[in-house]
């Protein structure tokens, strides 16, 4: 075998992504839930705000950014927890594989699922439910995919602190709910208590939601939009690196 163990390997990343997707394919119910639930929720929301389509526009756009983050967080935290507890992670790390290959594979696989999920939810919102987007729906999709990567990164990271699937799902309210309350979905962030506003300034979901609203209200990509996209992407990358540090070749 001539492969150098430390070389970066796109082939290993691709093989890992294909393997994760293959595992998902054996679980059609999860795939159906991943793809259909966001469409149903956004439809539900449309008729909750039946008399108030303006509110639907802003809340709907925010939710298109939040769905991929939450679902990918859950899926990744459970999937990597399983990888840790089943011994497959230990086995892989005893093989000539780089941590980046594994994490890249996960990000690629769940990123792909997120693209399909966001395409369905965005198409439904814009073309069927009449979500009024002034900017390009493609930019909505871009933010949604970055949000999904952020969710994947957070899920990967917290799975290191969960000893069981029970604990892993409990990280959802602990990590996601505070961001959900502070991201500006319920009330504009500048109308919160100053302390909460300051906290919301350092939470990545705030920028995910802000990015969605920038697309909603502007014809072209604004400077704020680029800032939002960079912050979400940067946070995802940072948390992915933290996640990589939790994959240990040697354990007690």
């Amino acid at each position: 075998m001539t492969t150098v163990a430390t070389a970066v390997s796109p082939a290993r990343t691709l093989a890992t992504a294909a393997r994760v997707l293959r595992q998902l394919r054996h679980d059609p119910r999860t795939v159906a839930l991943l793809l259909i639930v966001p469409v149903l929720m956004i439809t539900l929301l449309r008729y909750v705000f039946d008399a108030d389509p303006r509110t639907f526009d802003s809340v709907g756009a925010s939710l298109l950014g939040i769905f991929p983050l939450i679902t990918m967080f859950l899926v990744t935290s459970i999937a990597t927890l399983r990888e840790r507890t089943s011994g497959t992670l230990e086995r892989l790390l005893a093989m000539p594989v780089r941590k980046g290959d594994l994490i890249g594979g996960y990000a690629l696989a769940f990123g792909t699922v997120a693209v399909v999920q966001s395409l369905l939810a965005t198409a439904m919102s814009v073309w069927v439910l009449g979500l009024d987007v002034i900017g390009s729906p493609w930019l909505l999709l871009l933010v949604a995919v970055l949000d999904a990567l952020l969710g994947t990164a957070l899920g990967l990271f917290v799975s290191a602190f969960a000893a069981s699937e029970f604990q892993a799902v409990q990280f959802m309210p602990a990590v996601i709910f505070p961001q959900l309350l502070l991201c500006g979905l319920f009330t504009p962030r500048d109308r919160m208590h100053p302390v909460l506003e300051a906290i919301s300034n350092v939470l990545p979901m705030s920028y995910a939601v802000d990015g969605m609203n920038q697309v909603l209200t502007h014809t072209a990509a604004t400077a704020d939009f680029y800032r939002d996209v960079l912050i979400v992407a940067g946070s995802a990358l940072l948390v992915l690196c933290l996640g990589a540090a939790t994959l240990r070749r040697r354990t007690g």
């Binding site: 075998m1 163990a5 430390t6 093989a15 595992q23 005893a94 000539p96 354990t251």
Partner: protein, 260 residues
């Protein structure tokens, strides 16, 4: 320091003063041992005596190891060893939501990535499936297999890269006698035909008779390092189990004497 020519003459595994402390418990107490290349070395002892920890130290997945463990001429856990050492944990570590073939395809792609190796990967997968006698179940989900079949998938993964050293943690637990015999025949074939060094643990003493050499362990210490025949002769016992009990009694007397 050991150079490569020395390593070839010396053991496939050379451990000196190997110690592992986990919390306030010393799991391995300054072990010295050698695993002979191309032979089957059995690691025997009761559950909880430190067999798994010793194997993890050899493979390089155990944290907090002191002393030295050299494997195939490099320190245990060296990145260069990863393609050369196969490791099968006690619990089958494969994806239960993939088929046997999909599991092997993935691990083969990790070991030998790239399109250029597609043909050799396919061959390696077919051979590994045949080695563990799972050809008729290749397209069944690993999670749907029986316990014995499931652990054989895990073994097949370790055989993929044609490793020079195979570390097997209780591979025959829960298998019926026929399968156990077949697996031991496979281990002997691997050692004889491919020159594979095998370090295999068991807490069933009758499997000891099938090994070339034995390391008998108890409470983190090695009681004996010898061939099954020599052990029986030295202790005047009819079986390895008898030899083990004799050595345990002997160790207990030695330990008690200074306190008298």
């Amino acid at each position: 320091m050991m150079n490569y020519s020395d390593a070839a003459e010396a053991g496939a595994v050379e451990a000196r003063a190997l110690t592992v402390v986990r919390g306030d418990r010393t799991v391995l107490r300054g072990l010295d041992f050698t695993v002979a290349p191309g032979r089957i070395t059995g690691l025997l002892g009761p559950s909880g005596c430190g067999k798994s920890t010793l194997m993890r130290a050899v493979v390089g997945t155990q944290a907090d190891v002191t002393g030295t463990v050299d494997v195939l001429g490099s320190p245990a856990g060296h990145p260069g060893l990863r393609p050369r050492v196969g490791y099968v944990t006690q619990a089958p570590s494969v994806y239960s939501d993939l088929t046997v073939r999909q599991n092997l395809d993935y691990f083969a792609a990790v070991l030998r990535p790239g399109r250029g190796h597609a043909a050799s990967r396919r061959e390696a997968v077919i051979r590994a499936v045949r080695d563990v006698d799972l050809a008729s179940h290749a397209d069944v989900l690993a999670g749907h297999l029986s316990g014995g079949q499931h652990s054989r998938v895990s073994l097949a993964v370790a055989l993929l890269g044609t490793p020079e050293l195979l570390v097997l943690d209780e591979p025959t637990v829960g298998l019926d006698p026929v399968l156990r015999r077949d697996l031991w025949n496979l281990f002997h074939a691997l050692a004889a035909e491919r020159g594979t060094t095998i370090l295999v643990s068991s807490h069933v003493m009758d499997e000891a008779e099938r090994c070339h050499r034995l390391l008998l362990m108890r409470e983190g210490e090695i009681l004996a390092d010898d061939t099954p025949d020599a052990l029986r002769t030295r202790t005047g016992s009819a079986t390895v189990e008898g030899a083990f009990l004799h050595l345990v009694d002997e160790a207990n007397t030695i330990r008690e004497e200074p306190t008298r």
